[in-house]
Amino acid sequence: MKRPKTAFFDFACCEGCQLQVANMGDTLLEVMGLIDLVEFREVMSEKWDGDLDIAVIEGSITDLHATERIKAIRKRSKVLIAYGSCATIGGVNGMKNSFDLDEVGDCVYGEGRWFFPTEQTRAIHQVVPVEYAVNGCPVYIPEFLSVLTAALQGIPYAVPDYAVCIECRMNENECLYDRGITCLGPVTRAGCNSWCVNNGNLCYGCRGMVSSPYVKGMKQVLEKHHVPIDFVVNKMDMYNKCRELDRNGR
Protein backbone atom coordinates (compact mmCIF):
# COMPACT_ATOMS: atom_id res chain seq x y z
CA MET A 1 0.00 0.00 0.00
CA LYS A 2 1.33 3.40 -0.98
CA ARG A 3 1.54 5.61 2.07
CA PRO A 4 -0.88 8.53 1.73
CA LYS A 5 0.63 11.99 1.63
CA THR A 6 -0.44 13.63 4.87
CA ALA A 7 0.00 17.12 6.27
CA PHE A 8 -0.95 18.86 9.52
CA PHE A 9 -2.02 22.51 9.36
CA ASP A 10 -2.91 24.91 12.12
CA PHE A 11 -5.29 27.86 12.23
CA ALA A 12 -6.43 29.77 15.34
CA CYS A 13 -5.49 27.35 18.12
CA CYS A 14 -2.87 26.61 20.75
CA GLU A 15 -1.37 23.73 18.74
CA GLY A 16 -1.86 21.55 21.79
CA CYS A 17 -3.70 18.91 19.78
CA GLN A 18 -0.76 18.56 17.41
CA LEU A 19 1.42 18.28 20.47
CA GLN A 20 -0.69 15.25 21.44
CA VAL A 21 0.54 13.58 18.25
CA ALA A 22 4.13 14.55 18.93
CA ASN A 23 3.78 13.16 22.46
CA MET A 24 2.25 9.89 21.36
CA GLY A 25 5.37 7.88 22.19
CA ASP A 26 6.10 4.53 20.53
CA THR A 27 2.77 4.56 18.73
CA LEU A 28 4.00 7.54 16.72
CA LEU A 29 6.50 5.24 14.98
CA GLU A 30 3.65 2.97 13.90
CA VAL A 31 1.68 5.97 12.65
CA MET A 32 4.72 7.18 10.69
CA GLY A 33 4.86 3.77 9.04
CA LEU A 34 1.34 4.30 7.76
CA ILE A 35 1.52 7.80 6.35
CA ASP A 36 3.93 9.85 4.29
CA LEU A 37 4.18 12.99 6.42
CA VAL A 38 4.99 15.94 4.15
CA GLU A 39 4.21 18.96 6.33
CA PHE A 40 3.77 19.38 10.08
CA ARG A 41 5.08 22.74 11.25
CA GLU A 42 5.29 21.78 14.90
CA VAL A 43 7.65 18.85 14.39
CA MET A 44 9.44 19.40 11.03
CA SER A 45 10.74 22.15 8.75
CA GLU A 46 9.72 20.73 5.34
CA LYS A 47 6.81 22.27 3.44
CA TRP A 48 4.53 20.81 0.79
CA ASP A 49 2.40 22.71 -1.72
CA GLY A 50 1.31 19.76 -3.87
CA ASP A 51 -1.77 17.52 -3.67
CA LEU A 52 -2.57 15.78 -0.40
CA ASP A 53 -4.35 12.54 0.44
CA ILE A 54 -5.07 13.60 4.00
CA ALA A 55 -5.04 17.08 5.51
CA VAL A 56 -5.34 17.27 9.29
CA ILE A 57 -6.58 20.69 10.33
CA GLU A 58 -6.20 22.11 13.81
CA GLY A 59 -7.71 25.46 14.77
CA SER A 60 -10.70 27.55 13.80
CA ILE A 61 -11.26 30.11 11.05
CA THR A 62 -11.22 33.64 12.43
CA ASP A 63 -10.21 35.98 9.59
CA LEU A 64 -10.27 36.44 5.84
CA HIS A 65 -6.74 35.16 5.42
CA ALA A 66 -7.62 31.90 7.17
CA THR A 67 -10.76 31.50 5.04
CA GLU A 68 -8.74 31.77 1.83
CA ARG A 69 -6.05 29.45 3.15
CA ILE A 70 -8.44 26.66 4.28
CA LYS A 71 -10.24 26.82 0.93
CA ALA A 72 -6.93 26.36 -0.87
CA ILE A 73 -5.98 23.41 1.34
CA ARG A 74 -9.42 21.85 0.78
CA LYS A 75 -8.92 22.12 -3.01
CA ARG A 76 -5.70 20.10 -2.95
CA SER A 77 -6.78 17.52 -0.33
CA LYS A 78 -8.73 14.31 -0.94
CA VAL A 79 -9.67 13.89 2.72
CA LEU A 80 -9.93 16.59 5.34
CA ILE A 81 -9.88 15.80 9.06
CA ALA A 82 -11.00 18.52 11.47
CA TYR A 83 -8.79 17.94 14.47
CA GLY A 84 -9.44 19.24 17.98
CA SER A 85 -12.27 21.36 19.38
CA CYS A 86 -11.20 24.58 17.65
CA ALA A 87 -11.54 22.85 14.29
CA THR A 88 -14.59 20.68 14.95
CA ILE A 89 -16.83 23.06 16.94
CA GLY A 90 -14.99 26.39 17.04
CA GLY A 91 -13.82 25.73 20.58
CA VAL A 92 -12.63 28.47 22.91
CA ASN A 93 -12.08 30.84 19.95
CA GLY A 94 -15.85 30.93 19.63
CA MET A 95 -16.09 33.05 22.79
CA LYS A 96 -15.19 35.97 20.53
CA ASN A 97 -18.63 35.64 18.94
CA SER A 98 -20.25 36.80 22.18
CA PHE A 99 -18.80 40.26 21.65
CA ASP A 100 -18.89 43.07 19.11
CA LEU A 101 -16.01 42.55 16.66
CA ASP A 102 -14.81 46.18 16.85
CA GLU A 103 -14.77 45.96 20.61
CA VAL A 104 -12.74 42.73 20.43
CA GLY A 105 -10.25 44.30 18.03
CA ASP A 106 -9.85 47.35 20.25
CA CYS A 107 -9.29 45.24 23.31
CA VAL A 108 -6.57 43.09 21.73
CA TYR A 109 -4.79 45.41 19.30
CA GLY A 110 -5.80 48.93 20.41
CA GLU A 111 -5.10 51.57 17.76
CA GLY A 112 -3.37 49.08 15.48
CA ARG A 113 -6.49 46.96 15.08
CA TRP A 114 -7.12 48.06 11.46
CA PHE A 115 -4.05 46.04 10.49
CA PHE A 116 -5.73 42.90 11.85
CA PRO A 117 -9.23 42.62 10.44
CA THR A 118 -11.13 39.90 12.24
CA GLU A 119 -14.28 37.85 11.52
CA GLN A 120 -16.67 35.75 13.52
CA THR A 121 -15.05 32.49 14.60
CA ARG A 122 -16.15 29.46 12.58
CA ALA A 123 -15.45 25.76 12.85
CA ILE A 124 -13.86 24.17 9.78
CA HIS A 125 -17.09 22.49 8.60
CA GLN A 126 -18.73 25.92 8.64
CA VAL A 127 -16.33 27.02 5.91
CA VAL A 128 -15.44 23.95 3.82
CA PRO A 129 -16.71 20.33 3.69
CA VAL A 130 -15.05 17.98 6.18
CA GLU A 131 -14.86 14.17 6.00
CA TYR A 132 -13.81 13.33 9.56
CA ALA A 133 -13.83 14.99 12.97
CA VAL A 134 -11.63 14.28 15.96
CA ASN A 135 -13.24 16.15 18.84
CA GLY A 136 -11.65 17.19 22.10
CA CYS A 137 -9.47 19.78 23.81
CA PRO A 138 -7.06 18.22 23.48
CA VAL A 139 -7.93 15.29 21.22
CA TYR A 140 -8.09 11.85 22.81
CA ILE A 141 -5.31 9.95 21.05
CA PRO A 142 -7.11 6.55 20.95
CA GLU A 143 -9.93 8.28 19.08
CA PHE A 144 -7.51 9.98 16.70
CA LEU A 145 -6.05 6.56 15.87
CA SER A 146 -9.54 5.17 15.25
CA VAL A 147 -10.30 8.06 12.91
CA LEU A 148 -6.96 7.68 11.15
CA THR A 149 -7.45 3.94 10.52
CA ALA A 150 -10.98 4.68 9.29
CA ALA A 151 -9.65 7.34 6.92
CA LEU A 152 -6.94 4.99 5.63
CA GLN A 153 -9.55 2.31 4.96
CA GLY A 154 -11.89 4.85 3.40
CA ILE A 155 -14.73 3.98 5.77
CA PRO A 156 -16.76 6.39 7.90
CA TYR A 157 -16.02 7.03 11.56
CA ALA A 158 -19.11 7.74 13.61
CA VAL A 159 -18.58 10.05 16.57
CA PRO A 160 -20.87 8.67 19.29
CA ASP A 161 -24.10 10.67 19.41
CA TYR A 162 -24.85 10.09 23.06
CA ALA A 163 -23.84 11.66 26.35
CA VAL A 164 -20.47 11.33 28.10
CA CYS A 165 -22.52 9.88 31.02
CA ILE A 166 -22.75 6.59 29.13
CA GLU A 167 -18.97 6.15 29.21
CA CYS A 168 -18.63 7.74 32.65
CA ARG A 169 -21.01 5.17 34.17
CA MET A 170 -19.18 2.34 32.39
CA ASN A 171 -16.02 3.60 34.07
CA GLU A 172 -18.01 3.52 37.33
CA ASN A 173 -17.18 7.10 38.27
CA GLU A 174 -19.24 8.70 40.99
CA CYS A 175 -21.59 11.20 39.34
CA LEU A 176 -20.21 14.70 39.98
CA TYR A 177 -23.74 15.98 40.64
CA ASP A 178 -23.73 13.62 43.66
CA ARG A 179 -20.85 15.74 44.95
CA GLY A 180 -22.51 19.05 44.14
CA ILE A 181 -20.32 19.72 41.10
CA THR A 182 -21.78 20.95 37.81
CA CYS A 183 -20.64 18.82 34.88
CA LEU A 184 -21.54 19.13 31.20
CA GLY A 185 -21.37 15.37 30.60
CA PRO A 186 -25.15 14.93 30.24
CA VAL A 187 -25.29 17.07 27.08
CA THR A 188 -21.80 16.47 25.67
CA ARG A 189 -20.91 13.92 23.02
CA ALA A 190 -19.09 10.81 24.22
CA GLY A 191 -16.03 9.27 22.56
CA CYS A 192 -13.42 10.47 25.06
CA ASN A 193 -14.02 7.54 27.47
CA SER A 194 -14.89 10.20 30.09
CA TRP A 195 -11.18 11.00 30.19
CA CYS A 196 -11.52 14.12 32.38
CA VAL A 197 -13.84 12.65 35.00
CA ASN A 198 -11.71 9.50 35.24
CA ASN A 199 -8.85 11.78 36.27
CA GLY A 200 -10.67 13.83 38.87
CA ASN A 201 -11.74 16.67 36.60
CA LEU A 202 -15.21 17.51 35.28
CA CYS A 203 -16.66 17.71 31.77
CA TYR A 204 -16.33 21.13 30.09
CA GLY A 205 -18.21 20.14 26.94
CA CYS A 206 -15.14 20.30 24.69
CA ARG A 207 -16.46 17.62 22.32
CA GLY A 208 -19.57 19.56 21.38
CA MET A 209 -23.13 18.77 22.27
CA VAL A 210 -25.13 15.68 21.33
CA SER A 211 -27.14 16.26 18.16
CA SER A 212 -30.40 16.88 20.02
CA PRO A 213 -29.58 18.01 23.55
CA TYR A 214 -32.71 18.39 25.67
CA VAL A 215 -32.20 21.96 26.80
CA LYS A 216 -35.42 22.31 28.81
CA GLY A 217 -34.70 19.11 30.73
CA MET A 218 -31.13 20.19 31.44
CA LYS A 219 -32.44 23.50 32.81
CA GLN A 220 -34.77 21.58 35.14
CA VAL A 221 -31.85 19.47 36.37
CA LEU A 222 -29.77 22.57 37.06
CA GLU A 223 -32.66 24.23 38.88
CA LYS A 224 -32.96 21.12 41.04
CA HIS A 225 -29.28 21.49 41.92
CA HIS A 226 -29.66 25.28 42.44
CA VAL A 227 -27.22 26.10 39.65
CA PRO A 228 -27.85 29.55 38.05
CA ILE A 229 -28.60 29.21 34.36
CA ASP A 230 -26.21 32.04 33.32
CA PHE A 231 -23.36 30.17 34.96
CA VAL A 232 -24.06 27.13 32.82
CA VAL A 233 -24.65 29.07 29.62
CA ASN A 234 -21.22 30.64 30.11
CA LYS A 235 -19.77 27.22 30.74
CA MET A 236 -21.38 25.85 27.56
CA ASP A 237 -20.26 28.86 25.53
CA MET A 238 -16.65 28.32 26.52
CA TYR A 239 -16.45 25.63 23.85
CA ASN A 240 -19.80 25.63 22.07
CA LYS A 241 -20.52 29.23 21.06
CA CYS A 242 -20.04 28.50 17.34
CA ARG A 243 -22.94 26.07 17.54
CA GLU A 244 -25.21 29.07 16.89
CA LEU A 245 -23.79 29.31 13.37
CA ASP A 246 -24.93 25.73 12.70
CA ARG A 247 -28.39 26.48 14.00
CA ASN A 248 -28.81 29.58 11.87
CA GLY A 249 -28.35 27.42 8.83
CA ARG A 250 -25.32 27.31 6.63
Binding site: D161, A163, R169
Partner: protein, 353 residues
Protein backbone atom coordinates in the same frame (compact mmCIF):
# COMPACT_ATOMS: atom_id res chain seq x y z
CA UNK B 1 -21.83 -31.88 49.95
CA UNK B 2 -21.94 -31.98 53.72
CA UNK B 3 -25.24 -32.56 55.48
CA UNK B 4 -24.89 -29.27 57.32
CA UNK B 5 -26.54 -26.39 55.52
CA UNK B 6 -25.92 -23.58 58.01
CA UNK B 7 -22.60 -22.49 59.51
CA UNK B 8 -21.46 -19.63 61.72
CA UNK B 9 -18.70 -17.17 61.15
CA UNK B 10 -17.83 -15.09 64.21
CA UNK B 11 -17.29 -11.40 63.40
CA UNK B 12 -13.82 -11.51 64.89
CA UNK B 13 -12.94 -14.25 62.38
CA UNK B 14 -14.24 -12.19 59.44
CA UNK B 15 -10.91 -10.50 58.72
CA UNK B 16 -9.10 -13.85 58.57
CA UNK B 17 -11.87 -15.27 56.41
CA UNK B 18 -11.51 -12.48 53.81
CA UNK B 19 -7.70 -12.70 53.74
CA UNK B 20 -7.80 -16.46 53.19
CA UNK B 21 -10.61 -16.25 50.66
CA UNK B 22 -8.64 -13.70 48.64
CA UNK B 23 -5.72 -16.13 48.50
CA UNK B 24 -7.86 -18.90 46.99
CA UNK B 25 -8.78 -16.83 43.92
CA UNK B 26 -9.28 -13.12 43.11
CA UNK B 27 -11.96 -11.64 45.37
CA UNK B 28 -14.27 -8.71 44.62
CA UNK B 29 -16.29 -6.95 47.31
CA UNK B 30 -18.08 -3.62 47.85
CA UNK B 31 -15.74 -0.72 48.63
CA UNK B 32 -16.30 3.01 49.04
CA UNK B 33 -16.27 4.99 45.77
CA UNK B 34 -16.36 8.78 46.02
CA UNK B 35 -18.44 10.53 48.66
CA UNK B 36 -21.80 8.78 48.44
CA UNK B 37 -21.22 5.68 46.39
CA UNK B 38 -19.83 2.15 46.40
CA UNK B 39 -18.34 -0.13 43.78
CA UNK B 40 -17.33 -3.77 43.55
CA UNK B 41 -13.54 -3.91 43.39
CA UNK B 42 -10.85 -6.54 43.88
CA UNK B 43 -9.76 -6.67 47.53
CA UNK B 44 -7.23 -8.63 49.58
CA UNK B 45 -8.23 -7.65 53.11
CA UNK B 46 -11.40 -7.01 55.10
CA UNK B 47 -10.57 -3.41 55.95
CA UNK B 48 -10.95 -2.46 52.28
CA UNK B 49 -14.53 -3.72 52.32
CA UNK B 50 -17.36 -1.36 53.17
CA UNK B 51 -20.31 -2.89 55.04
CA UNK B 52 -23.14 -2.14 55.10
CA UNK B 53 -23.41 -0.52 51.67
CA UNK B 54 -26.13 0.82 49.39
CA UNK B 55 -26.21 -0.72 45.87
CA UNK B 56 -22.92 -0.13 44.04
CA UNK B 57 -22.74 2.24 41.05
CA UNK B 58 -22.56 -0.74 38.70
CA UNK B 59 -24.05 -4.10 39.67
CA UNK B 60 -21.80 -7.19 39.81
CA UNK B 61 -23.06 -7.81 36.26
CA UNK B 62 -19.78 -6.22 35.14
CA UNK B 63 -17.90 -9.41 36.06
CA UNK B 64 -20.27 -11.64 34.07
CA UNK B 65 -20.76 -9.30 31.15
CA UNK B 66 -17.95 -6.71 31.13
CA UNK B 67 -18.55 -3.17 29.85
CA UNK B 68 -16.16 -3.87 26.98
CA UNK B 69 -15.31 -7.44 26.05
CA UNK B 70 -13.17 -8.66 23.18
CA UNK B 71 -15.01 -11.47 21.37
CA UNK B 72 -12.46 -12.47 18.76
CA UNK B 73 -9.17 -11.53 17.17
CA UNK B 74 -8.76 -11.40 13.42
CA UNK B 75 -5.86 -11.35 11.00
CA UNK B 76 -6.65 -10.43 7.42
CA UNK B 77 -3.22 -11.61 6.22
CA UNK B 78 -4.24 -15.17 7.00
CA UNK B 79 -7.27 -15.27 4.76
CA UNK B 80 -9.67 -13.57 7.13
CA UNK B 81 -8.55 -15.75 10.00
CA UNK B 82 -10.61 -15.16 13.14
CA UNK B 83 -10.31 -16.90 16.48
CA UNK B 84 -11.84 -16.73 19.95
CA UNK B 85 -10.13 -14.96 22.83
CA UNK B 86 -9.43 -16.50 26.22
CA UNK B 87 -11.90 -15.46 28.88
CA UNK B 88 -10.86 -14.36 32.39
CA UNK B 89 -10.10 -16.89 35.13
CA UNK B 90 -12.05 -17.86 38.26
CA UNK B 91 -13.04 -15.31 40.90
CA UNK B 92 -15.24 -14.85 43.96
CA UNK B 93 -17.66 -12.01 44.57
CA UNK B 94 -18.44 -11.35 48.22
CA UNK B 95 -21.36 -9.34 49.53
CA UNK B 96 -23.90 -9.59 46.74
CA UNK B 97 -27.31 -8.30 47.91
CA UNK B 98 -30.48 -10.22 47.07
CA UNK B 99 -31.46 -7.62 44.44
CA UNK B 100 -28.21 -8.24 42.58
CA UNK B 101 -28.57 -12.02 42.95
CA UNK B 102 -31.94 -11.59 41.24
CA UNK B 103 -30.24 -9.56 38.51
CA UNK B 104 -27.73 -12.31 37.85
CA UNK B 105 -30.56 -14.87 37.75
CA UNK B 106 -32.28 -12.76 35.08
CA UNK B 107 -29.10 -12.54 32.99
CA UNK B 108 -28.57 -16.30 33.35
CA UNK B 109 -31.93 -16.83 31.68
CA UNK B 110 -31.30 -14.32 28.91
CA UNK B 111 -27.84 -15.55 27.99
CA UNK B 112 -28.83 -19.24 28.17
CA UNK B 113 -31.44 -18.84 25.44
CA UNK B 114 -30.19 -20.35 22.21
CA UNK B 115 -28.00 -19.29 20.54
CA UNK B 116 -26.25 -19.37 23.90
CA UNK B 117 -23.87 -16.59 24.84
CA UNK B 118 -20.74 -18.61 25.54
CA UNK B 119 -18.67 -15.70 26.78
CA UNK B 120 -21.23 -15.02 29.47
CA UNK B 121 -21.74 -18.67 30.37
CA UNK B 122 -18.01 -19.40 30.66
CA UNK B 123 -17.52 -16.42 32.97
CA UNK B 124 -20.58 -17.39 35.01
CA UNK B 125 -19.20 -20.91 35.52
CA UNK B 126 -15.98 -19.49 36.93
CA UNK B 127 -17.54 -17.03 39.38
CA UNK B 128 -18.33 -18.03 42.96
CA UNK B 129 -21.03 -15.85 44.51
CA UNK B 130 -21.32 -15.08 48.21
CA UNK B 131 -24.58 -13.30 48.96
CA UNK B 132 -25.22 -10.89 51.83
CA UNK B 133 -28.63 -10.26 53.36
CA UNK B 134 -30.02 -6.73 53.81
CA UNK B 135 -31.47 -6.48 57.31
CA UNK B 136 -33.05 -3.12 56.47
CA UNK B 137 -33.77 -1.01 53.40
CA UNK B 138 -30.65 0.54 51.84
CA UNK B 139 -32.53 3.79 51.10
CA UNK B 140 -35.83 5.18 49.86
CA UNK B 141 -35.19 4.26 46.21
CA UNK B 142 -35.35 0.48 46.67
CA UNK B 143 -38.45 -1.46 45.69
CA UNK B 144 -37.21 -4.99 46.30
CA UNK B 145 -40.36 -6.12 48.12
CA UNK B 146 -42.47 -5.29 45.06
CA UNK B 147 -40.47 -7.76 42.98
CA UNK B 148 -39.95 -10.35 45.76
CA UNK B 149 -36.21 -9.75 45.97
CA UNK B 150 -35.91 -8.68 49.60
CA UNK B 151 -35.46 -12.26 50.82
CA UNK B 152 -32.93 -14.76 49.43
CA UNK B 153 -34.20 -17.20 46.85
CA UNK B 154 -31.11 -18.95 45.52
CA UNK B 155 -28.59 -17.80 42.95
CA UNK B 156 -25.61 -17.96 45.34
CA UNK B 157 -23.00 -20.43 46.54
CA UNK B 158 -22.88 -19.09 50.10
CA UNK B 159 -25.22 -16.62 51.72
CA UNK B 160 -24.27 -14.45 54.71
CA UNK B 161 -26.72 -12.95 57.18
CA UNK B 162 -25.47 -10.53 59.82
CA UNK B 163 -26.84 -11.56 63.22
CA UNK B 164 -24.99 -9.24 65.55
CA UNK B 165 -21.66 -10.67 66.64
CA UNK B 166 -21.70 -13.40 64.00
CA UNK B 167 -22.79 -14.18 60.45
CA UNK B 168 -24.98 -17.18 59.79
CA UNK B 169 -23.98 -18.71 56.49
CA UNK B 170 -26.19 -20.79 54.21
CA UNK B 171 -24.43 -23.28 51.96
CA UNK B 172 -26.19 -23.67 48.66
CA UNK B 173 -23.73 -25.40 46.33
CA UNK B 174 -20.65 -27.58 46.20
CA UNK B 175 -18.57 -24.49 45.45
CA UNK B 176 -19.88 -22.96 48.68
CA UNK B 177 -19.03 -26.11 50.59
CA UNK B 178 -15.52 -25.99 49.16
CA UNK B 179 -15.04 -22.49 50.62
CA UNK B 180 -16.20 -23.70 54.04
CA UNK B 181 -13.58 -26.46 53.85
CA UNK B 182 -10.80 -24.31 52.41
CA UNK B 183 -11.12 -21.35 54.74
CA UNK B 184 -11.65 -23.30 57.99
CA UNK B 185 -13.11 -20.40 59.96
CA UNK B 186 -16.65 -21.74 60.19
CA UNK B 187 -18.45 -23.79 62.79
CA UNK B 188 -21.81 -25.58 62.42
CA UNK B 189 -24.84 -23.48 63.35
CA UNK B 190 -26.86 -24.49 66.42
CA UNK B 191 -30.63 -24.47 66.84
CA UNK B 192 -30.49 -21.10 68.67
CA UNK B 193 -28.69 -19.52 65.69
CA UNK B 194 -31.37 -20.75 63.32
CA UNK B 195 -33.99 -19.25 65.62
CA UNK B 196 -32.13 -15.91 65.45
CA UNK B 197 -32.25 -16.12 61.67
CA UNK B 198 -35.95 -16.96 61.68
CA UNK B 199 -36.60 -13.98 63.98
CA UNK B 200 -34.74 -11.64 61.62
CA UNK B 201 -36.73 -12.90 58.65
CA UNK B 202 -39.98 -12.38 60.58
CA UNK B 203 -38.92 -8.82 61.35
CA UNK B 204 -38.00 -8.27 57.71
CA UNK B 205 -41.44 -9.35 56.58
CA UNK B 206 -42.78 -6.38 58.53
CA UNK B 207 -40.10 -3.89 57.39
CA UNK B 208 -40.02 -4.85 53.72
CA UNK B 209 -43.55 -4.24 52.43
CA UNK B 210 -44.56 -3.79 48.82
CA UNK B 211 -43.40 -0.23 48.14
CA UNK B 212 -46.08 0.51 45.55
CA UNK B 213 -49.81 0.32 46.20
CA UNK B 214 -50.52 -2.45 43.76
CA UNK B 215 -50.80 -6.18 43.51
CA UNK B 216 -47.71 -7.21 41.58
CA UNK B 217 -49.50 -10.13 39.90
CA UNK B 218 -51.38 -7.60 37.82
CA UNK B 219 -48.42 -5.44 36.76
CA UNK B 220 -48.29 -6.95 33.24
CA UNK B 221 -52.02 -6.34 32.81
CA UNK B 222 -51.54 -2.74 33.93
CA UNK B 223 -48.78 -2.29 31.38
CA UNK B 224 -51.02 -3.85 28.71
CA UNK B 225 -53.49 -0.96 28.98
CA UNK B 226 -50.91 1.80 29.59
CA UNK B 227 -48.98 2.01 26.33
CA UNK B 228 -50.57 5.34 25.40
CA UNK B 229 -50.88 6.56 28.98
CA UNK B 230 -50.00 10.16 29.95
CA UNK B 231 -47.23 9.07 32.31
CA UNK B 232 -44.82 8.57 29.39
CA UNK B 233 -45.43 12.14 28.25
CA UNK B 234 -44.35 13.28 31.70
CA UNK B 235 -41.11 11.27 31.43
CA UNK B 236 -40.56 12.77 27.98
CA UNK B 237 -40.72 16.24 29.55
CA UNK B 238 -37.95 15.36 31.99
CA UNK B 239 -35.63 12.71 30.54
CA UNK B 240 -32.25 13.97 29.26
CA UNK B 241 -31.52 10.68 27.46
CA UNK B 242 -28.19 10.56 29.26
CA UNK B 243 -28.47 6.76 29.57
CA UNK B 244 -27.53 6.55 33.25
CA UNK B 245 -30.61 4.44 34.08
CA UNK B 246 -29.76 1.63 31.66
CA UNK B 247 -26.01 1.72 32.29
CA UNK B 248 -26.50 1.00 36.00
CA UNK B 249 -29.36 -1.51 35.63
CA UNK B 250 -28.55 -5.07 36.74
CA UNK B 251 -30.74 -6.62 34.03
CA UNK B 252 -29.99 -4.43 30.99
CA UNK B 253 -27.94 -6.52 28.62
CA UNK B 254 -27.96 -4.71 25.26
CA UNK B 255 -24.61 -4.38 23.58
CA UNK B 256 -23.11 -3.09 20.37
CA UNK B 257 -20.48 -5.02 18.42
CA UNK B 258 -17.61 -3.13 16.83
CA UNK B 259 -14.42 -3.99 14.98
CA UNK B 260 -11.16 -2.26 15.78
CA UNK B 261 -8.23 -2.42 13.40
CA UNK B 262 -4.69 -2.19 14.74
CA UNK B 263 -2.17 0.21 13.21
CA UNK B 264 -0.66 -2.62 11.19
CA UNK B 265 -3.89 -2.33 9.18
CA UNK B 266 -4.14 -6.14 9.13
CA UNK B 267 -4.95 -7.44 12.60
CA UNK B 268 -7.58 -6.34 15.02
CA UNK B 269 -10.32 -7.29 17.42
CA UNK B 270 -14.06 -7.56 17.42
CA UNK B 271 -15.45 -6.41 20.75
CA UNK B 272 -18.80 -5.78 22.34
CA UNK B 273 -19.60 -2.79 24.48
CA UNK B 274 -22.67 -2.00 26.60
CA UNK B 275 -25.28 -0.07 24.67
CA UNK B 276 -28.30 1.84 25.88
CA UNK B 277 -31.83 2.04 24.44
CA UNK B 278 -32.03 5.55 25.88
CA UNK B 279 -29.58 7.05 23.39
CA UNK B 280 -30.70 8.75 20.21
CA UNK B 281 -28.89 6.41 17.77
CA UNK B 282 -29.85 3.10 19.46
CA UNK B 283 -32.88 2.35 17.30
CA UNK B 284 -31.58 4.09 14.19
CA UNK B 285 -31.22 1.84 11.15
CA UNK B 286 -29.76 2.09 7.66
CA UNK B 287 -31.38 4.91 5.75
CA UNK B 288 -31.68 7.06 8.84
CA UNK B 289 -35.05 5.75 10.07
CA UNK B 290 -35.27 5.80 13.88
CA UNK B 291 -37.81 3.50 15.48
CA UNK B 292 -37.69 5.23 18.84
CA UNK B 293 -36.85 8.79 18.01
CA UNK B 294 -38.60 10.38 20.99
CA UNK B 295 -37.42 10.19 24.57
CA UNK B 296 -41.02 9.23 25.36
CA UNK B 297 -40.74 6.05 23.28
CA UNK B 298 -37.34 5.24 24.73
CA UNK B 299 -38.31 5.65 28.39
CA UNK B 300 -41.52 3.71 27.81
CA UNK B 301 -39.49 0.97 26.18
CA UNK B 302 -37.23 0.76 29.22
CA UNK B 303 -40.18 0.22 31.56
CA UNK B 304 -41.82 -2.36 29.29
CA UNK B 305 -38.47 -4.17 29.12
CA UNK B 306 -38.61 -4.54 32.92
CA UNK B 307 -42.27 -5.26 33.67
CA UNK B 308 -43.99 -6.45 30.51
CA UNK B 309 -41.89 -8.07 27.73
CA UNK B 310 -39.70 -10.30 29.98
CA UNK B 311 -42.81 -11.40 31.87
CA UNK B 312 -44.29 -12.66 28.61
CA UNK B 313 -41.06 -14.42 27.68
CA UNK B 314 -39.58 -15.63 30.99
CA UNK B 315 -42.51 -15.26 33.46
CA UNK B 316 -40.42 -12.97 35.59
CA UNK B 317 -39.98 -9.23 36.11
CA UNK B 318 -36.64 -7.85 35.06
CA UNK B 319 -36.70 -5.25 37.80
CA UNK B 320 -34.78 -6.35 40.88
CA UNK B 321 -35.85 -3.42 43.04
CA UNK B 322 -32.25 -2.26 43.56
CA UNK B 323 -33.25 1.37 42.91
CA UNK B 324 -30.16 2.18 40.85
CA UNK B 325 -32.11 3.79 37.97
CA UNK B 326 -33.86 6.15 40.38
CA UNK B 327 -30.62 6.95 42.21
CA UNK B 328 -28.69 7.61 38.99
CA UNK B 329 -31.33 9.64 37.14
CA UNK B 330 -30.19 13.21 36.47
CA UNK B 331 -33.78 14.32 35.99
CA UNK B 332 -35.15 12.70 39.15
CA UNK B 333 -37.28 10.10 37.34
CA UNK B 334 -38.20 7.61 40.09
CA UNK B 335 -39.36 4.11 39.28
CA UNK B 336 -41.74 3.94 42.22
CA UNK B 337 -43.36 7.25 41.18
CA UNK B 338 -43.75 6.07 37.60
CA UNK B 339 -45.50 2.90 38.74
CA UNK B 340 -47.71 4.89 41.12
CA UNK B 341 -48.71 7.19 38.25
CA UNK B 342 -49.47 4.17 36.09
CA UNK B 343 -51.81 2.82 38.76
CA UNK B 344 -53.68 6.08 39.22
CA UNK B 345 -53.94 6.56 35.46
CA UNK B 346 -54.96 2.94 34.92
CA UNK B 347 -58.35 3.53 36.53
CA UNK B 348 -60.30 0.69 38.08
CA UNK B 349 -58.73 -2.72 37.71
CA UNK B 350 -57.47 -5.69 39.66
CA UNK B 351 -54.06 -3.98 40.09
CA UNK B 352 -55.53 -1.41 42.45
CA UNK B 353 -54.94 -2.28 46.09
Amino acid sequence: MHDIQYYLLKKRAFSGFISRLAKVQPLAAPVRRGEKNYAFELVTSANEISLPYIPTILPPKKYFFPQREVLLEFDTRRGLHAGPVGVAGPMTIFGVHTCDLAGIQCLNMVFSVRPRDHNYLIRKRKITIIGLECNDYCDEHANCALVNASLPSGGYDLFFTDLGDYFIVHVNTQAGDDIIDAVKQFQPAKEANLQDLAALRERKRVVFRNEVALDQRFLPALFDISFDGPVWKDLDERCLACGNCTQVCPTCYCFDIRDELNLDMATGVRYRVWDSCQTEPFAKVAGGENFRKSRLARQRHRYYRKFSYPFAKFFRFFCTGCGRCSRACMAGIKLKETLTSLISQGGEGPWKR
